[in-house]
Structures are given as C-alpha cells and as structure tokens.
Amino acid sequence: MATEEGSGLAIHPMDQFVVKPLFGDGPIQWYTPTNVTLWMAIAVLAVVALLVLSTRRRAIVPSRGQSVAELFYGFIHKMVEDVAGHEALKFFPYIMTLFMFVFLSNMLGLIPMSFTTTSHIAVTVVLALLVFLTVTLVGLYRKGLGFLAMFWVTSAPLALRPVLAVIEVVSYFVRPVSHSVRLGGNLLAGHAVIKVFAGFAGAMGVASVVPIAAIMAMYGLELLVAAVQAYVFTILTCVYLRDAVGDAHH
C-alpha cells in the first residue's frame, strides 16, 4: 500500500486519513455513514463495554473490568475537583465524555488498519470549540461582566494593563486553536511517521528490520502520546473551566 511498482519509493503517509463512505463510492453527504462513523461507533461501544457492561454487577469487591471503570471515574473525578474546583463537578459527565471519547479514539486509532477520528482537525476543532463555548457561556452566565475581569490583570502596574489585556484576549481566543491543533497534530504526526517508516520497510528488503524496529519503538511512544494527549486535552478543559466557575484568581 505504501509502495507501488514502477515509481520507486512512494510513500503515502496521508492515505490512512482519507474519509471514505462505508457503502458504495458516492459523494460524502453530511449523513453518509463513513469510516468516521464506523470508528466513532466502535468508540461508543468501547465506552459502553468499559463503563457500563463491566459495572453491571455493582460489586462491592470489584472485578477487573469494574476496577478499570472505577479507575477512570476516580481519575477524572479527582482531576475535575483538583484542577477546576468543587464547583465544576456538575460538568463532570461532560468532561468524562470528552476524556473517554478522546482516549478511546486515540487508542482505537493505534490498531493497525484502523481510522483515527481524533487525528482530523474537523473533529478536534469541534471538541475544542465546544469547550471554548462552554467556558465562555458558563463564565458569562455565572459571573456576568465580571468574567471579563480576567483580562484585566489587576496585579500588574496600571500602565501595563492595557497591553496585558490585549495579550490575554488574544491568548484566550488562541485557546481553541492550540487546544485542537495539539491533539490533532500529535496524532497526525505520530501516525504519519509510523507510515513513513512502513514505507521504508517495504522498499529496503532484508535491511527493513531497521525501520520495523523503529516502527515498534514509535508505536510504544504513540501509545504514550495517545494517553498523554487525552489527559492533556482533559486537564486543559479543566484549567479553562476553572476560569469560568472557580474563584477569580487569574
């Protein structure tokens, strides 16, 4: 797939990201079931298996699956409480949704031949915009115009405050960009690098053990990146949410 006859070393690291219709070959409408649909559905099933099926016995002494579910619950619950504050706990299901979706999509994307939904800017932009809109609307709703006070750094000298305000506003609006590009870019980069090495392996004959070893190393790193990026996405959501619901200490 990565190499073709006649054209020498031809690597197509981007092929794995192509959105295709599941059935037929027609144009992609907004409702067309595509491989995006398939892998998102698998992510939903994984969430159900991980958090619902494993806990159906509601055991006091948990089974292995239930332990994992409780681990996720405790991890995110603690993160929301510690980072965003006790007030933010009513957003816990929302943040848990984001975390489970991003984490499982990242992990499912590492299955060979699979499709990584979170490597698409379209997906991460929507996720980041949802966070951005939630934070902005909740902040304005709870604090009114006081929410805008976070752009006015009262701890700085008065002369500097307008400059800082501009910087704060810009950085506030850059948040969704960096939030989404970080997640999408990390996954895109990792998967593309693995594919490039795979292309080398196809063209190098016996010496391809070297790129194969490199792929294995990269795969390990990508497992780490998949987990860490989900963690980072979630914790940044919590950090942003703190501005909206927490005490103003910006």
Binding site: S7, A10, I11, H12, M14, D15, F17, V18, V19, P27, I28, Q29, W30, Y31, T32, T34, V36, T37, M40, A41, A43, V44, V47, V48, L51, V52, T55, R58, A59, I60, P62, Q66, A69, E70, Y73, G74, F92, P93, Y94, M96, T97, L98, M100, F101, T117, S119, H120, I121, A122, V123, V126, L127, L130, G184, L188
Partner: protein, 174 residues
C-alpha cells in the same frame, strides 16, 4: 511524493484533514457520538459507578466501626481477665499466709515442747553425770589410798592409814 499521490484515484489528495467537503459529515457523526456517550455516561455509567464507590465507602466505614467496637470489647475482656487474675492472686496470697501462720503456730508449739523435753532430759543427764562423777571421784580416792598403802607396804614402810588418807586427800585436792 505528494504530487504522485494526487494523481491516483482513491488516494489522499493533499491532506485529507483539509478536505473541507468531508467536514460536515465528520462534525455530524462526532456530535451524534458525543451525545450518545454523554447520555450513556450521565444516565447509566457514572451514577452507577458513583453509587458503587459510595457503597464501598460506607461499607468500609461500617466495617471499621464494627472493628473498633470489637476492639473495645476485646480490651474490656482483657481488663476483666486481668482483674480476675489479680483477685485470684491476692486470694492465693491470703491463703498462703494463713497456711503459713498455721504451720508456724504448730511448729512453734512443737518446738517449745521439744525444747522442754530436751531441757528435762538435759537436767536429768546432768544429775546422773554429777552422780557418776562423784562416784568416780570417791572411787579414785579409794583406789589411790589403797594403792598408796600397798606401795608404802611394798617399800617396806608401815602404812599409817590415817596419814596416807590425808596425803591422798591433799594430792587429790591439789
């Protein structure tokens, strides 16, 4: 590389991420997915896990309380045991002291009786010893006188019985 890829049908044209014709499709399915996950989590999974965790916490708290109670009971039982042991000890000590006193009394009486007997026996013995000694002393004087008379006679003197008696008595005294 990229230009070669663009030429081929079904392959990536540039970056698939920037192919905006697929964006509505992805966004639609993403929103559907998020809503489904949110509903599953908020309606089923999270309340359930939260309840299980709360359950476990209360069970552990109850168990800890029960354990504390049992521990208290154990401490009380130990205290009762120690008390009983101490009582038994004092009782035993009392009994031992009484027995000792009893024995001492018997012992004292027996000792006194034995002492009296011994004293009587001693006095008796002393009396007989004195008698024997007197007897012996008289016998000695007799023998000495007789011996002296014999000696004097044997030496060719005439033994004056009175003189010999006086001499012997003087010697015995000296």
């Amino acid at each position: 590389m990229a230009t070669e890829a663009t030429a081929e049908a079904g392959k990536a044209v540039g970056m698939p991420q920037l192919d905006f014709s697929t964006w509505p499709n992805q966004i639609f399915w993403l929103l559907v997915t998020l809503v489904v996950i949110y509903l599953v989590l908020s309606k089923v999974a999270l309340p359930r896990i939260g309840a299980v965790l709360a359950d476990r916490k209360s069970t552990i708290t109850n168990d800890l309380a029960a354990a504390e109670e049992l521990k208290q009971k154990a401490v009380e039982a130990e205290k009762a045991y120690n008390d009983a042991l101490a009582n038994a000890r004092t009782e035993a000590a009392k009994i031992i002291a009484a027995a000792k006193a009893e024995i001492q009394k018997d012992l004292d009486a027996a000792t006194a009786r034995a002492d009296a007997e011994i004293a009587a026996k001693t006095a008796e013995s002393e009396k007989s010893i004195a008698a024997i000694r007197d007897g012996a002393a008289a016998a000695v004087a007799e023998v000495a006188r007789d011996t002296a008379v014999e000696l004097v006679t044997a030496l060719g003197g005439s033994a004056d019985a009175n003189a010999v008696s006086a001499a012997v008595a003087a010697r015995l005294k000296g």
